[in-house]
Symmetry: C2
Subunit: 736 residues, 2 copies
Amino acid sequence: MTRQSSVDQKQSTFNAKNFIAKERQQSRLDIDQLNVFLENGLEEAQLTRDLIEEIVNDPVLKTSTDHYDITKAQEREITARRIARLSLYMEHDVKTKQKDFKDDLVRSLQDKDSKLLTNRDLTTFDRRLSLVANIDPGLSTRIGVHLGLFGNCIKGNGTDEQIHYWLQEKGALLMKGIYGCFAMTELGHGSNVAQLQTIATYDPSSDTFRINTPDLLATKWWIGGAAHSATHTTVYARLIVNKKDYGVKTFVVPLREEKTFNLLPGVMIGDIGAKMGRDGIDNGWIQFKNVVIPRQFMLQRFTKVIPGSPPTVKTQPLLDQISGYSALLSGRVNMVMDSFRFGSKFAIIATRYAVGRQQFGPEGNETQLIDYPLHQYRVLPQLALCYLVAPTAHKLMGTYIQTLMELHQAGADKAKLISVSNKLKDLFIDSASLKATNTWLVAKLIDDLRQTCGGHGYSSYNGFGKGYNDWVVQCTWEGDNNILSLTSAKSIVKKFADISRGKKITVTTDSLQYLTPQFIAKSLSKSLAFKFDKPNDYTEIWAVMIIRLIHHVVDLISKGNKIDSLSKTLVQISKFHAIHSMLLTYQDKLNNDSEGMVKDVYTKQYLWKMYELFSLYFIDQHLGEFLLLKVVTSEQMSQELQPKLLQLLPEIRKECIALTDAFKLPDPMINAPIGYYDGDIYHNYFNEVTNNNKLEPDGAGKPPYYPLLTSMLGREDFQSRLGDSYNTDTLDSLIK
Amino acid sequence: MTRQSSVDQKQSTFNAKNFIAKERQQSRLDIDQLNVFLENGLEEAQLTRDLIEEIVNDPVLKTSTDHYDITKAQEREITARRIARLSLYMEHDVKTKQKDFKDDLVRSLQDKDSKLLTNRDLTTFDRRLSLVANIDPGLSTRIGVHLGLFGNCIKGNGTDEQIHYWLQEKGALLMKGIYGCFAMTELGHGSNVAQLQTIATYDPSSDTFRINTPDLLATKWWIGGAAHSATHTTVYARLIVNKKDYGVKTFVVPLREEKTFNLLPGVMIGDIGAKMGRDGIDNGWIQFKNVVIPRQFMLQRFTKVIPGSPPTVKTQPLLDQISGYSALLSGRVNMVMDSFRFGSKFAIIATRYAVGRQQFGPEGNETQLIDYPLHQYRVLPQLALCYLVAPTAHKLMGTYIQTLMELHQAGADKAKLISVSNKLKDLFIDSASLKATNTWLVAKLIDDLRQTCGGHGYSSYNGFGKGYNDWVVQCTWEGDNNILSLTSAKSIVKKFADISRGKKITVTTDSLQYLTPQFIAKSLSKSLAFKFDKPNDYTEIWAVMIIRLIHHVVDLISKGNKIDSLSKTLVQISKFHAIHSMLLTYQDKLNNDSEGMVKDVYTKQYLWKMYELFSLYFIDQHLGEFLLLKVVTSEQMSQELQPKLLQLLPEIRKECIALTDAFKLPDPMINAPIGYYDGDIYHNYFNEVTNNNKLEPDGAGKPPYYPLLTSMLGREDFQSRLGDSYNTDTLDSLIK
């Protein structure tokens, strides 16, 4: 209810609430089991719930709809305050993970002889950060730049001693002592890292490097944290020794004094200012003028500069390259998880609104939006997307943590290094394709679902606007989606070509297991037809589609076409690879539910329905390709698959509220009144709007600038304003 | 060049500029002729250029990149100042149009006996407003609410005397005396106008109406201008006479005192606050408590309340309904024009960036983005869209002005009224389908083109972020795109069904001329195949596609399917109708270039290429439907159409800079440094960023809130902070 107005607030206003309550009463789904499925296990689900509770109740972190009204300057300051707050949670989370609350864990980690913290030690805090991103994405990123980019750059490229020094002794990993940023991209080069132009020239006489920005295009650009918060940065710069260019390497460069925050000499920094979203992040540009750092500040795990006359450079090329990019890997993996969490938020809002909102139909008993078939088609497949991405997000995160650990444990063991390097390469394929595909899909999800909420979706207080703006940069950073898709697809095509040439290829991930001679032969057989009488068909049809697309590409290349001319198809291969791997992981998880997450038969049936909906919806969305390559026929599509899709929608509609409740996102995490749990859409929305927009001090509805308007409306006639000079009489009198 | 940095600014920085200069040197296109084609004639083109010059040089209206940094409060005030400024231009434009500068035109219009101003008298100012929308869409809308919605509501529903009184005597049409808003939508009802709940009860004893908001859902919502600027509103409310409900009618209701801006008694207004874009508009909500207006304030062109005992109500149902919606018609027609102008702006930015930006390829001579086939596929069809929408936008505007004039001239002549009512109905079909389709396409255009600009597209100063936010509401307001598409498609399907039943149907627009028995029979013939050997094929294939889709729908309905279950297909019919009518109008214009706009043969060839690209690109985008309904075969698509599409791209790429120059939008209208005319991308961009982000007063790169960060980084150990209470020794000492 609202106290901001005394008009009748009963009757139809409560329909929305009642509709949603009714859905809950009628539901037979076990939402606890669904939640455990979505969160990847009972303990994990509990941890997520605990962390959410802590976040939404923390006095500094809690975020309400007034967050949609703040200015950039306010947002930056709030973000800084929240970072400081989260630094305390971070200590707490590491201690919790290590089950060690006595003495001072942090102090002991700083000890020279202490072990290196692993990614596993950080998983609780990473989860916290990932959940915080749901209500304040800029905050998570601003910390992510420090921990994920600066930190991982050092972990990926530094020696053990360097890692220990910067991250533990100096305290970076615990958000103490120093705060880092990640100076990779430049004004003139983003995706093409190998062509970055900043230079680090070795000076043997002082055993130091000089960092320089040779020209305007080499200005470090878009550097999150540079404008306001970083004391240090990792710089991607060309290593120049004895006038020879050894390519792009990484260096730790101090930017500001740690205590006064004064910029160091030679460091030029500016604010990049306003951007499409995430205004809490202080992106900046940096130019270096003869900034001197000791040789030891170059990260030298795989490339070393050895003093002498002349000085020499020693490199392990394979690992140097792989590791060089590993800083971005973490971001990509996290964005797949973000896709699940951020997508769920908007799926909840739009679904609740669709159930509560009535439009057209019999007077006094208008039809609920969700009961229109078109509306179901617009909303429910987006909900299915959130379900399908969840298992893949968890799996990818697990693989990432495991592989990075293996990389670090491999030490100098050649065999182990080759094995882990194969895993890393496949992880690059999967994470690139999944990051690109899901960030695109969730951008579309937010936009499509906003439109399903009509005008109310356009109000800032319902979250879609800021949500969209905050989201879409994910399509560009940590690897532009098109470029990632191309890279991923090219690797897949290469493996396929190797198989065709009879080579044995290494595949370390399930998602690429369609790459066998047997499956390829089967996929290319003309007689192949899917009946959709078993669950696996919904997955396998995508693998067949991928094989046919690859075959098509390889065929065109063999006929002399350049691979660049086939880029559009390559992007599709990557998208389909992602869709296939999501279906595969989801299916495997449902089939091999060893932990018995979903015991209830009815609930499990619904999980299968989501699976079917996801597959059929995207076949429908990509119908052109499926028909073109004859994976399905027109008749099969119009007589079988499209009707099946249209049948699934009303079935899923029946449980749509329970299916969204299963995400267990509390209202403060949703932060959009038309999507709150109780479904009291109109009171909630009216309250938030009136609370955030107080009446004007000069009188209600009387803006401070009203004289601008009254003087316009009350202006005199043109003639009077111009002293009657345009008067016919006057004019006639001027020239007779 | 920039004085903000002294790093080397020659060399590669100027590549971008040189690339663009080279394109211009090599171009053989006649951009003046192209511009005349796009602007619909030589005089029109000149007028557009003059108005643009006036706008971008006007000291109040000129808009630079600092506009991307203003707060909502600032934007609202700036908008009010600009409205006052434009009110002067408005007087000027009407005088210019009437070629009467002597005496006081405005004063004479206020004279009781003066003629009513027509839409034609306002065309120059309308054009000005449409051009202003390119740099400040919120400004145009805030005026558009007054002139277009409030004004057209009175024009469409008022008697001649009412129109004269409110718009001329009171001065509304000249932005004098009063300022109006348009209280149609309510919290609970938007698209379903017939179910609006605000009530206007006739009180015979005082010969007045009482306006009331019966419940929370009936709160007028999203009312542009209500929060701050309107003195009056037109209210959509249920007419209640003698306890009988006559449905929704329109009433003029004063809201504020004209001189003091104090709200009148019984009028409750609140600010709706932040929204996804167009923050310059003061959207508000309104509740009425027994607000009394004289009977004469009800707009009574088609419905009259006649006092007496009992009082009676007289209605002309047909026209009442048509006219009731005509206020929204103007907005829809304008949005098609906006699609052309707003789309062009981003097409220019992305094309210039694509030519100037280099990425990957040989060192020192990296490949320009525009030379990648994928990039061409991402950018050039969007440019073609801008070309294709232009002729349709002009034509639709012409039809709208003409039809409304006929409506007003028809008076009480029955035959004329029936004729004009048929035209209005077809205009509803076309404008709905074109508004929905083009606002969707341009939303995608902005988003897709932003992504082609990589990280730099994400900077506010390059316009995409605000552009997108300002744009997307067009998909929702003045008729939600899905609902408009459904309405439009249902009308088309109904005409088709009438033909099938042998009925004669009236078609007043070229765009529906596919609805003849002959063409329907031809379209459904199985042997039909397009060779694309003549220009008309590129248009006709879409008409065939539409017929087949309609036939499919009608078939399913005859088999007992409900029309609602076919909504997805109906939306497609509307989209395809829009695409077809754009191709048709464009083709006609090129074929029947009576004014000889495009004399140069080479230039004309390029206009045909744009036409082909547009058609083929959208066939490719909707390939699923084309294959499903067998309008093309897989073989034709892969062997003929897709290769043709891929051939067109590099040809159009050759002239892409000239093709964008032809829009003749000067830099201040583009307001995005990576898209300025000289192509000096990096200097322009760097300058705008540094100009808009001055160094911090406490020291460069030292934000006002830095102590938040230094105290976090310098915080003591946990043990020290907690007075060593967690110490093992302490703990052991507590319980021995």
